[in-house]
């Protein structure tokens, strides 16, 4: 084929331009370490990269949420651990004071003072705040002090709202418990019923244990055991309907009805009454405050001592209920912290896989790229050299 002089130059120019742009692209790839520097390099790959990056951003968000939830849960765990310690100390002190005869009135006062101090600490703990100054146990009223100590026993000012954080595509984690749930919604007595001695009792009888032996037989409601004589009693319900009339009683005997079993010690006097009430919610603070009140009772005569003992025994049950509730919440917290840990490792695993895929799509095969770059540079140089040769090679040089 006939080749014009201009064609030779044009072809050379085209070749050189193509080689140069290829070299420039390779240099950019080697420089950034990325195979795809814009969608033009590989539109399908670029679309994948966009999706991967979105997924990674989402996982990042979950990680931050998990950190925030974990921080709060840890703070709650610390606070409730302290509550647990305090309640156990209270329990210890109460048991110690229970050997009523052995404990002198003065040291009972001292115990009462200490329990009272512990109560103050307990309220402070229940009013704990997180790093941002939000109350941990106020439900969603995070800016309101949940347990303001206006009277002797604080009244809950929060609500029962709980908060969640998203820590996975389909995973929300509860990051708060309301103060109601932790400190207030605690059933007193044994959780089904509580026993108290009537304040007007004159005998030396007090209840010791109160248990449920058959929950299915229990009929929720309030009952009264009335001693008509030291060895006779009736049981009536709150509507005045007798369940048991003129039953015989001997000291030390157990009284069982409706699946409830109550043991007593001491001797009742005629007219003595014991109230059996379906369990009510009683806050941790009320429980402790009642114990303080009990510890300050005058126990100079047997009737007073019996009242003291009755209150102490039911107070211990209340403390146990509180401890069970607090520890129930704590084990929930622990379980949630575990969920966060598990979810975090799931997220990290997913992120790792996405990053692997991302680098598979995006990253440059350096060995290949550099060898190609060298090849291109060589052929660019060859093209330049060959043009110079061609130019020298003209017939005009010979005429």
């Amino acid at each position: 084929m006939r080749i014009s002089t201009k064609s030779i130059q044009m072809q050379w120019l085209t070749t050189i331009t193509q080689q140069q742009s290829r070299v420039a692209r390779l240099q950019q790839q080697v420089g950034t370490g990325q195979r795809i520097n814009s969608a033009i390099d590989d539109p399908v790959g670029a679309a994948q990269i966009t999706r991967f990056e979105q997924a990674l951003a989402r996982l990042d968000t979950y990680a931050r949420n998990a950190d925030a939830a974990e921080r709060r849960l840890n703070l709650q765990e610390i606070a409730l651990g302290e509550v647990d310690d305090v309640l156990n100390r209270v329990r210890e002190l109460v048991v110690q004071a229970g050997g009523a005869a052995a404990v002198a009135p003065g040291s009972r006062d001292a115990i009462a003072d200490e329990v009272s101090e512990l109560l103050t600490g307990l309220v402070d703990t229940a009013n704990s705040q997180d790093g941002e100054g939000r109350f941990l146990f106020a439900g969603n009223r995070v800016e309101t002090e949940p347990f303001p100590t206006l009277g002797s026993v604080p009244v809950y000012a929060g609500d029962q709202g709980v908060r969640f954080q998203r820590i996975g595509d389909d995973r929300l984690i509860q990051e708060s418990n309301s103060g109601d749930e932790v400190f207030q919604l605690i059933r007193n007595g044994n959780g089904v019923f509580s026993v108290s001695a009537d304040a007007g009792n004159t005998g030396s009888m007090n209840q010791t244990t109160a248990t449920v032996i058959d929950l299915s037989a229990w009929v929720p409601g309030d009952y009264t055991i009335e001693f008509t004589a030291p060895n006779r009693y009736d049981i009536v319900n709150s509507s005045g309907v007798p369940l048991r009339v003129d039953a015989s009683y001997s000291p030390g005997a157990l009284i069982a009805f409706n699946g409830a079993l109550i043991s007593f010690e001491g001797e009742p006097a005629a007219g003595d009454e014991f109230q059996i009430n379906a369990s009510r919610n009683q806050s941790v603070f009320a429980t402790v405050q009642r114990l303080v009140n009990t510890l300050r009772l005058d126990i100079s005569d047997p009737a007073q001592r019996a009242q003291f003992q009755s209150q102490l025994n039911s107070g211990l049950q209340d403390i146990d209920q509180s401890l069970a509730n607090i520890n129930g919440v704590r084990s929930d917290l622990g379980a949630r912290l575990n969920v966060i840990d598990r979810q975090r490792s799931v997220n990290e695993e997913v992120a790792f896989q996405i990053e692997t895929s991302l680098s598979g799509v995006q990253d440059l095969d350096f060995a290949q790229a550099i060898s190609e770059l060298e090849l291109r540079l060589t052929s660019l140089e060859a093209a330049q050299r060959s043009f110079a040769e061609t130019r020298r090679n003209s017939l005009f040089n010979f005429i």
Partner: protein, 632 residues
């Protein structure tokens, strides 16, 4: 002696002419559009009779332009294709750098905004977090506005390209018409140079817009657009120009005019740089603008709708965080009637990234897709009370329209720049769930109440505190006011069944006792609840458009991908078209181009012929002199 002298002289002259042509070729080796020339040389007529017939030397009958019109025409077409591909690619790369990367495009701003929503969900009562969210919202609207602004400036640039291109084409068309005149007045032997010049100009026009070339008998050439609209007829050139778009005054369209009538040829131009400008504008720029606008609409609507379902720090239901622009309605400048069309969004999630035309045929209105022309059924009558509803839009027509009046509807195009932040008070972000429930601490039974779900956000009593109080026996319950005043009679209780009132629904499960109370009511001011903030944060990835199948995140990824793959395609197309043009140019050059080696050989050839002819003259001269000397 005159025979040999004349013969030699004719050879001398022919060689001279040959050298002339050769040197002209050499001189024009770099001249654009030059076709090499060579002399057409024939032997002179014969003298004498019988066996004694002698040639009379040589005659140069013409100078031939070496040319292949078919190849040249192919090259002309290839130049149009290359021009279109190059301009399209050039602008596609610009668009890609604006929208095609995650960092520069809208994706990163959306991500930053929703990350901040998430931060609010982490600590909903923090005013700082909320202020930052409003800040991120403002940054997001700014990003939308910036991108929109940059797309507008691309559009302006396209306008300028059209104006400048039209001016350049005009000049060339006039020059072609003049050359037509000169060539036709040259008779049967038009000047080679003029033909070269005309071809060069036609190629230049073709580079701008695709033309068809029709040869005429008189040597002139007619040029038309690819569908036959004349641009040059013989010695007359038409005027190519620009005028404002019928609907959009900011947009120019290409026109051609014969001096009396002007017609828009934008739709007919598919090749050349101007074709590239027009196709980039309609295929890519407009689409990108609509897509971007639709993302803005989606973010605003999905966020606002969810925000209205929550409770702000003042204890009120949320209001709009984002404000949006109404759909654009652009009447045609040709409309004869005086009707006004007002458009608003009926359902943003049904809005598509399309433009529409609303046409009045004298009796009724019809809506078509501006891109495909497909008819879109309209419901309603178009009145204020009963507007037309279609494609997520509500259209109210007032005034009187004339038959043939047309309006263009652009629901999404202006949305990106129209996005604004409507809230400045950080307390008004509705992070909390609106309705909370609580078990009373005085309850004796073991029943509990579930969190509330809202079934009717518009219920005026939604936030009014209500109690659910169980009767004795606890097989029934009543709704009461907080002070115990009954609101309803006794209703039968089933554990776990839905209990709905005032627009909310809860479930009470377990065994309540008589007198047990559950409260349902607003969380009130300063709630630290984050139920709605979690839902707000999920709006980014929650299905919204296309019957809930497509989220705003999907749309933003799709935009990135569309722009990227368009750039990749146009890049590949440009490479192919440039290669085709290059190959054809080589083919044409191989016929018409000057080869210096060849010309060097020609010089030698003509030089030798010249020298030999001179020698023949001098020999004849010597012979003549020797005869003279005999008689001296």
């Amino acid at each position: 002696m005159s025979g040999p002298i004349n013969n030699a002289l004719s050879g001398l002259l022919a060689a001279q002419r040959g050298l002339n042509a050769t040197s002209n070729n050499i001189a024009n080796v770099a001249t654009e559009g030059y076709s090499r020339q060579r002399i057409q040389q024939v032997a002179g007529p014969v003298q004498g009779t019988g066996a004694l017939q002698f040639g009379t030397g040589t005659v140069v009958v013409g100078v031939e332009r070496i040319y292949d019109q078919l190849l040249a025409n192919q090259l002309t077409t290839a130049r149009s294709s290359e021009g279109r591909a190059e301009v399209s690619n050039q602008f596609a790369l610009r668009l890609e750098s604006l929208l095609g990367s995650t960092e520069a495009g809208i994706s990163s701003a959306l991500q930053a905004f929703f990350d901040q929503v998430n931060v609010v969900a982490n600590d909903p009562t923090s005013i700082v977090n909320r202020e930052q969210l409003i800040g991120e919202a403002a940054a997001l609207t700014q990003r939308f506005a910036q991108l929109s602004e940059q797309l507008n400036s691309l559009d302006n640039e396209l306008n300028q390209r059209l104006t400048a291109g039209a001016a350049a084409v005009n000049e060339d068309l006039r020059a072609i018409a003049e050359l037509n005149f000169e060539i036709s007045s040259g008779g049967l032997n038009p000047s080679n140079t003029l033909l070269d010049q005309r071809q060069l100009l036609i190629d230049r026009v073709a580079r701008q817009l695709d033309v068809q070339r029709i040869e005429q008998r008189d040597g002139t050439v007619n040029l038309t657009t690819s569908n036959g609209q004349p641009l040059v007829l013989g010695v007359n050139a038409f005027e190519v120009g620009v005028q404002r778009d019928e609907f959009d005054p900011l947009r120019l369209q290409l026109t051609v005019s014969d001096g009396t009538t002007t017609s828009v040829i934008s739709r007919q131009v598919s090749g050349g740089e101007l074709g590239g400008v027009l196709s980039f504008r309609s295929d890519m720029l407009d689409a990108a603008r609509r897509d971007l606008g639709r993302i803005a609409l989606g973010v605003a609507a999905s966020f606002n709708e969810q925000n209205a379902l929550g409770l702000d720090l003042n204890g009120n239901l949320g209001t709009d965080l984002f404000s949006t622009a109404a759909p654009e309605v652009l009447p045609s400048t040709d409309n004869a009637g005086s009707a006004a069309v007002a458009a608003s969004f009926a359902d943003v999630s049904a809005v598509e990234a399309r433009d529409y035309r609303l046409r009045f045929d004298g009796a009724s209105w019809a809506l078509t897709d501006a891109g495909t022309g497909a008819n879109i059924p309209l419901s309603g009558t178009g009145s204020g009370a009963d507007p037309f509803v279609a494609a997520g839009l509500e259209l109210v027509v007032s005034g009187s329209a004339a038959a043939g009046d047309v309006y263009t509807l652009r629901p999404a195009t202006g949305a990106a720049v129209g996005l604004g932040v409507a809230l400045d008070d950080p307390r008004l972000i509705a992070a909390a769930g609106p309705v909370e429930t609580a078990d009373s601490v005085f309850n004796v039974g073991n029943a509990t109440v579930s969190p509330a779900t809202v079934s009717d956000i518009a219920n005026p009593d939604l936030l009014t505190p209500v109690r659910i109080r169980f009767d004795e026996p606890p097989t029934t319950y009543q709704f009461t006011e907080p002070d115990g005043t009954p609101l309803t009679g006794s209703l039968p209780y089933t554990s776990g069944a839905d209990i709905s009132f005032n627009g909310w629904t809860v479930q009470v499960s377990g065994e309540p006792l008589g007198g047990d109370v559950f409260t349902v009511g607003t969380a009130g001011a300063n709630s630290g609840g984050n139920a709605n903030a979690l839902a707000l944060a999920a709006q980014f990835t929650a299905g919204f458009f296309e019957s809930g199948r497509t989220s705003t995140q999907d749309l933003s990824a799709r935009l990135t991908t569309t722009v990227g793959s368009f750039a990749a395609r146009s890049n590949a197309d440009f490479e192919v078209q440039a290669a085709i043009r290059g190959q054809l140019e080589l083919d044409v050059e191989s016929v018409t181009g000057v080869n210096l080696d060849e010309e060097a050989a020609n010089i030698l050839r003509y030089q030798e012929a010249y020298l030999a002819a001179s020698r023949a003259i001098s020999v004849a001269n010597e012979l003549f002199l020797s005869i003279i000397n005999v008689f001296r």
